[in-house]
Structure formats: structure tokens, C-alpha cells
């Protein structure tokens, strides 16, 4: 009798069905989107750029809260904490990835989901930086991306002379975009939104006179202009 009671009680708990109810909270899906790369990109200065390789490494995406005076004031008194390496938080994605723009076809490339606390978010910060060896899209053929944020390879065709000049641009510096939304994202209850980060790499070569840059300073100024073009080529769009 005694043992039956004990065994019965234990068996009762073992056969209890489990029940889980999960309610999603505030979620922001982030995806990159780039147009398909044509055979030759025509620049505003009449050059045709035929790309063989076009890679960009993105390292961090972070939602930016609308200016909050109290928080800014608090930040003056509370020292910031150094982070040894990128890490994901509810308002940021720290997963590095290498995007091959030659493979882009206008379809979104999912970067991840942010799960921010309630609040008003006015923009999004995207950082392009050299990738880690374990970044998404990292392959032995892309080792240059461990030291560079952007890699472009191809040829530039002069439409007047018909001559071709090889193009190879490597940008090692960190590129940061602080993109404002058209309207703030206001979250006060659970809901899901999607943000598309549009990379328009077809305009990266605008304003570059390849013939002039090649003669003058062996591409340093071209690289600077290219970096500026890249900085202005990203747009955040709420879907």
C-alpha cells in the first residue's frame, strides 16, 4: 500500500503533459537588399565598369533610439562599457556577414531579428568592417575580407577610347551609416515590422574620372570618392 502510493504519485507527475505558450514580443526583421549587378555598370561620367567581384562585409546593425535627453544626461555620468567584440543585444545584431553583390538579384538577404524594448526608434546604424573568419559568407576565396570592408574587382572601359583598365579597390576602413527612418518606429505593444537595408552599389562609381585618378595619385583619391559613394548608397526602408 505504501509503495503503491509513492509510485503512483511519482508516475502521475511523469505522465503530466507539458504545455508551453509563447507570445512573440516586439520584433524587427532586418534584411539587406541589393539590385542585380548588370554586365557593365554605366557611370555618370560615361565609363562602363565590368565587375568580376563585389563584396561588402557588414558587422553590426543597431536600432537608434530617438534623442532622449534624460538618457543622454545619464550617459554623461555613467561610464560606457568596453566590449571586446561584437555581440548581439535586443537592439543590435552583431553577426558579421559578407554579402556578394555579384550574386544579388534584388531578393532580400535576411540579417536577423532585433527584439528591442518598448520605445521610439528614429533610425538604424549599420557598420561595415573587416569580417571574422567565421562570418556568414566567409570562404577561403574571400580571405581579403578579413582585412577589408569592401572589395571590388573588374575592369573599367573607356567609352571614348574603348580601352580597358583593370580595377581593384580594397577599403580597409570602417564605414558607418546612421540612417534615419521617414517616421519613428514607436513600439508600445508587441508587434513585428521589417526593415530593408537597400544597398545601391550601381552608383558607387559615379563622379569618378578613372582616367584622371589613375594619372594623378594612383587611385587614392578614387578610393576616397568610392568610400563617399558607398557611404551615401545605403537606405533604410520600412516594409
Amino acid at each position: 500500500m505504501r509503495s503503491e502510493i509513492c509510485i503512483g504519485a511519482i508516475a502521475l507527475t511523469l505522465v503530466l503533459p507539458n504545455c508551453t505558450m509563447v507570445t512573440d514580443g516586439i520584433e524587427v526583421d532586418v534584411a539587406y537588399r541589393a539590385p542585380a549587378t548588370p554586365q557593365a555598370v554605366r557611370t555618370d561620367m560615361g565609363y562602363h565598369v565590368k565587375l568580376d567581384r563585389a563584396l561588402i562585409a557588414v558587422g553590426r546593425v543597431e536600432l537608434l533610439e530617438c534623442d532622449n535627453f534624460a538618457r543622454r544626461l545619464w550617459g554623461l555620468f555613467v561610464p560606457g562599457r568596453a566590449r571586446a567584440h561584437e555581440e548581439s543585444t535586443p537592439t543590435s545584431l552583431g553577426v558579421p556577414m559578407i554579402i556578394d553583390l555579384m550574386e544579388s538579384s534584388g531578393t532580400p538577404l535576411f540579417a536577423g531579428t532585433l527584439r528591442p524594448p518598448p520605445g521610439r526608434y528614429c533610425g538604424i546604424r549599420v557598420v561595415s568592417a573587416p569580417a571574422d573568419a567565421d562570418a556568414i559568407g566567409s570562404t577561403p576565396e574571400r580571405t581579403e575580407m578579413l582585412k577589408n570592408s569592401v572589395l571590388l574587382e573588374g575592369v573599367v572601359e573607356d567609352s571614348e577610347t574603348g580601352g580597358e583598365v583593370p580595377l581593384r579597390a580594397l577599403i580597409a576602413e570602417l564605414i558607418r551609416w546612421d540612417l534615419q527612418f521617414d517616421e519613428p518606429l514607436v513600439f508600445d505593444s508587441p508587434r513585428s515590422v521589417s526593415i530593408s537595408l537597400q544597398i545601391d552599389h550601381l552608383g558607387w562609381f559615379d563622379g569618378i574620372d578613372f582616367a584622371q585618378f589613375a594619372v594623378l595619385d594612383e587611385g587614392a583619391a578614387m578610393q576616397q570618392r568610392l568610400t563617399e559613394n558607398i557611404r551615401s548608397s545605403l537606405v533604410a526602408e520600412r516594409l
Binding site: 500500500m1 505504501r2 509503495s3 502510493i5 509513492c6 504519485a9 511519482i10 502521475l12 507527475t13 511523469l14 503530466l16 507539458n18 504545455c19 508551453t20 505558450m21 509563447v22 507570445t23 512573440d24 514580443g25 516586439i26 520584433e27 543585444t89 535586443p90 537592439t91 527584439r115 528591442p116 524594448p117 518598448p118 505593444s189 508587441p190
Partner: protein, 269 residues
């Protein structure tokens, strides 16, 4: 009953063929992570059904099965409400020293046991196991080793126990750290039917790891002060309630534990 001391399951002195069953309800709160950044608020209620059997005057074998309710809320207003069986626990306690056979005043015991991975694994919509905070148990085989000392000096009694929990790899590729738990409890029993307890519970945890990466909000130590009452409303029924208040929190990362309440009923068969 030769010994008039009111003892809850696990603290009693073994008596051949003694069988006790118990139902214990526990409530606790945890806050893990930084406020407005990645904080998880956890509220847990457990119902532990247990049975203890002493085949001889020196051995007590016990089994405990919890049913766990967990309510977890995240900073992004996501919520999870989980009801699930927890991890079954088996313990054996052997008295290795007693000063005398009849009505001993001093008992020294050794404790050995094992937590079985009987809890269900909670998964997300893609079938990936949820983090440990959302699980009713660790899902690992966890050996338990310890020692205890009990002193009976009517109307006083003292109970000391030191227990180490050695978790293995469990749910979601998580490995909890080794946990050392020290309990020191004093009891005053002015009447046959009522006793008051005051004590200290200390826990020291090694950090836990998820897929080989240290979970920053695990590890450290916490000390609780406890106050309790044990009552004997019937010869075979014992009631107890205890409140545990964190006195010293030195938990690593951003991790706070709240007040714990334990109440239960013991039935002597």
C-alpha cells in the same frame, strides 16, 4: 514516534521501515540581464512530490519529482508560460555516525544522488531548444554528493548540510557549472506541535556555458537568510512554510534573485 523533533523530508533521522510522502510548493523570482537591454524576468512555481523510505535505521532513500510552472518575460514584451515536468531527483542518505542508537543527539550522514533528465525540452517554432531560462529542468544527468550533520537537543535542533551538484551537458548544448550549497538551520520547538526555524542558505555556482561560450549572467554566490515554521496538526501530517530572503548577492553579470517562499505538507504513512 520515539523522536519528538519535527523534521521535514531530508532532515529526519532514519527509522527502519519509515515512509514519508510530501508535497512541497516553491515560489521564486529571478531577474537576469540588464534593464531595458536584455533583461529576462522569471517567476517560477514548483510543486514537488516526493517520497522517502528508510529500509534500515541508517539509510533513507528518496525520490522527488517536480512539476514546474515558469513565466518568463523579456524586454521586448515577449512572454512564455510553461508548465512541464522537471527533473526527477533521487537521493540516498546514509548515517555514518550516531552517538547512540536510541534517541541519538548527533548524526553525521553522507548524501549521494542523481538528477535525471526527465524534463521535456521546450522548443521554438523552428524546433530549436529554447534557452535554459525557458526550460523546466536542465535536461542533464547531474550527480549529487554531500554530507550532513544533525544535532537534537530538545527543544533545540541544528541541521547542517553541504551538497555539491555536478551538472553534465544538458538542453540546448548548455552546461551549468558545479554548484555548492550549504545549509545551516537552527530549530526551536517550544511545543510538541510547533517549531520555529531560522537559518542560512549559501550557494556558490561556477559559471555556465552555452555551446562552449560562457554565459555572463551565471556563476557567483548568493546567501539567503531563512525563517520558517513547522507545525504538526495531526499525528501523521506535518505542515511547514519557509521564507528565504537574499542577504548577500554576489552573482556574476546581471543576475538578481528575489525572495523565495516554500510551503509543504508531509504525510507519514
Amino acid at each position: 514516534m520515539g523522536d519528538p523533533t519535527l523534521t521535514i523530508v531530508g532532515f529526519e533521522q532514519p527509522k527502519a521501515q519509515r515512509v514519508r510522502t510530501s508535497a512541497t510548493a516553491r515560489h521564486r523570482n529571478d531577474r537576469i540581464g540588464e534593464e531595458n537591454v536584455d533583461r529576462l524576468q522569471l517567476s517560477e512555481q514548483r510543486l514537488e512530490l516526493a517520497g522517502a523510505y528508510s529500509p534500515t535505521d541508517r539509510w533513507t532513500l528518496s525520490l522527488m519529482m517536480p512539476v514546474v510552472h515558469r513565466y518568463v518575460s523579456a524586454v521586448n514584451l515577449a512572454q512564455a508560460d510553461i508548465w512541464a515536468p522537471g527533473d526527477l531527483e533521487f537521493r540516498a542518505r546514509a548515517v555514518v555516525y550516531r552517538d547512540r542508537k536510541f534517541a541519538p543527539q548527533h548524526l553525521v550522514g553522507l548524501i549521494g544522488g542523481l538528477e535525471f533528465p526527465t524534463s521535456s525540452v521546450e522548443r521554438d517554432a523552428e524546433g530549436i531548444p529554447l534557452p535554459l531560462e525557458f526550460q523546466a529542468g536542465t535536461g542533464s544527468w547531474d550527480p549529487i554528493v554531500g554530507a550532513s550533520y544533525t544535532m537534537f537537543s530538545d527543544p533545540w535542533s541544528v541541521y547542517l548540510s553541504s551538497v555539491g551538484l555536478f551538472p553534465t551537458r544538458g538542453t540546448a548544448n548548455t552546461k551549468a557549472g558545479i554548484s555548492f550549497r550549504q545549509t545551516a538551520l537552527g530549530q526551536l520547538q517550544p511545543w510538541k506541535f510547533l517549531a520555529f526555524q531560522v537559518g542560512v542558505e549559501l550557494r556558490i555556482d561556477q559559471p555556465g556555458y552555452i555551446a562552449g561560450v560562457r554565459d555572463p549572467n551565471t556563476g557567483g554566490h548568493i546567501t539567503y537568510g531563512t525563517l520558517g515554521i513547522v507545525a504538526l496538526p495531526h499525528d501523521k501530517i506535518l505542515l511547514h512554510i519557509t521564507a528565504a530572503v537574499p542577504l548577500i548577492q554576489r552573482l556574476d553579470g546581471a543576475h538578481e534573485e528575489g525572495v523565495g517562499i516554500t510551503g509543504g505538507l508531509i504525510y507519514e504513512i
